[in-house]
Symmetry: C2
Subunit: 325 residues, 2 copies
Amino acid sequence: MDTEQLTQKILDGDRRALARAITLVESGRKDHRAKAGELLSELAKHKRQSLRIGLSGTPGVGKSTFIESFGMMLTGLGLRVAVLAVDPSSARSGGSILGDKTRMERLSRDKNAFIRPSPSQSHLGGVARRSREAVALCEAAGFDVVLIETVGVGQSETVVAEMSDLFLLLLAPAGGDELQGVKRGIMEMADLILVNKADGPLKPVATRTCADYAGALRLLRKRPQDPEGFPKALMVSAVEEHGLDKAWEEMQALAAWRRENGHWERRRADQACYWFDQEVRQALLARLETPDAKAQMAELAGTVASGGKSPGEAAQIMLQALGAA
Amino acid sequence: MDTEQLTQKILDGDRRALARAITLVESGRKDHRAKAGELLSELAKHKRQSLRIGLSGTPGVGKSTFIESFGMMLTGLGLRVAVLAVDPSSARSGGSILGDKTRMERLSRDKNAFIRPSPSQSHLGGVARRSREAVALCEAAGFDVVLIETVGVGQSETVVAEMSDLFLLLLAPAGGDELQGVKRGIMEMADLILVNKADGPLKPVATRTCADYAGALRLLRKRPQDPEGFPKALMVSAVEEHGLDKAWEEMQALAAWRRENGHWERRRADQACYWFDQEVRQALLARLETPDAKAQMAELAGTVASGGKSPGEAAQIMLQALGAA
């Protein structure tokens, strides 16, 4: 299929063409990269936009159940929903809930939903670009909502936040000192904190957890992109499908406010600049990603850790080896 | 003075030699860099260690008063104290409290204290290396405590935390929703949060602020390098010199625990590896720091922001211009 045909089919919302195009952007082959670039340029001309919702939550918080329930609610409202995963560590096995479509059985059969697991790449930079391009393809294919989920390994939350219009943090109820730790910076990225499992015997715990996080959110610096009262902490039950409508209402209110106040477009422009900068930097740093360079960096790091060389001396050796000193 | 003489004088604790050596490591001249490298290698053989205390706090929290009172208390205990600043933005004017020694009048006259303002460099990478080397010189000169302060511009807190054994965050009392925002990730870096100005009419507010931050700290993930009860939030009054002894007690307890449990040495080794890695990366990215490259990056970013080019297309153009595509 040539680029023109593929472009048209994607614009028509053809799911198989979309899946094929995502496979194309995920490919490392040079001719595939060239074709992917062409395709993305063509599609960009149509300037279609979805609501991009980033979602982070560690394993065990009920993320797949949440995506299933929330996604079904959205398709029930007549919306088309795409679900993508950014998961640099686990490839297709293990960590990523989306590696296992059977856990989102209803949603994966819904004709208004499209689910795509994370590309199997261990390098976060590569995953980021491929995911960003997959999001652009879903937007061009006319999805109303693109949900981008991550298990939050390393910097993957930042990656997802930088390609989302709204960023949700899903947490489980936890009591007192057992409160699950919130990773560096993630609270400040969140637009909504959703405390899941607010059902059955966990409900009182969820209520307290939610109040705790609401308090913690108030301690964070006010962000210009937030109207009064945001970021918020809410309770939901993905299993009982409670609170999902309220959460969706808040997301829409926030998105509408940001659109009206210029923050939506500004954020998208800032994100595009961020990715431009990242791509340049990653390309310059790619010399450190070869097996040889990695081995030498590891060896020198060992010498530095044991005090055999200073950081500066070791850096000089490495840069000489790279021909960059 | 040749390197051998300078080495000996620094080891003898000669303040003028120390000041001269810091000027040497701050220099960008190639022959100075070579001599600085030699000097640092020589001094490293003696393996002298200080307690390195990082301190962050925005202007207005009373940081200079705190450093003065805390420093005077330490010299009163017979300890030798060096104070360094990491402040990439302001050079010698404005932001940095240490730019104005008169604000630490007593401490700057104390023969057991050594105060050095931030090097005037706008590039954080450069400031980081020079500061790290200045810390090493102070350690070699036999200071018991090296206080490294930053106003917390951009990534400067990370820079300071990565060269400190303990990291303190100094905050001012603030009521309710006016609570000053805590920047991304900084709470997670802090070993102690000190709420200053716990005196006079602000005391009740300070008490509540301290409790709020103690609560927020409990929400963070437990770190392996912390004994039970850390990180802590404490109240101090730098003006009335209250709570400084208690804060020092906590710092010593934490440092002792980390030494006994292997975290001290591991952290120093990790920090050395971090700086090795950073130096290599910064050198590879240095091509983006020339005026020409900066101008072209800015121009392309403008095109990306307005939607004229995709991030990937713009990155390709930039990399070609750098001869790195």
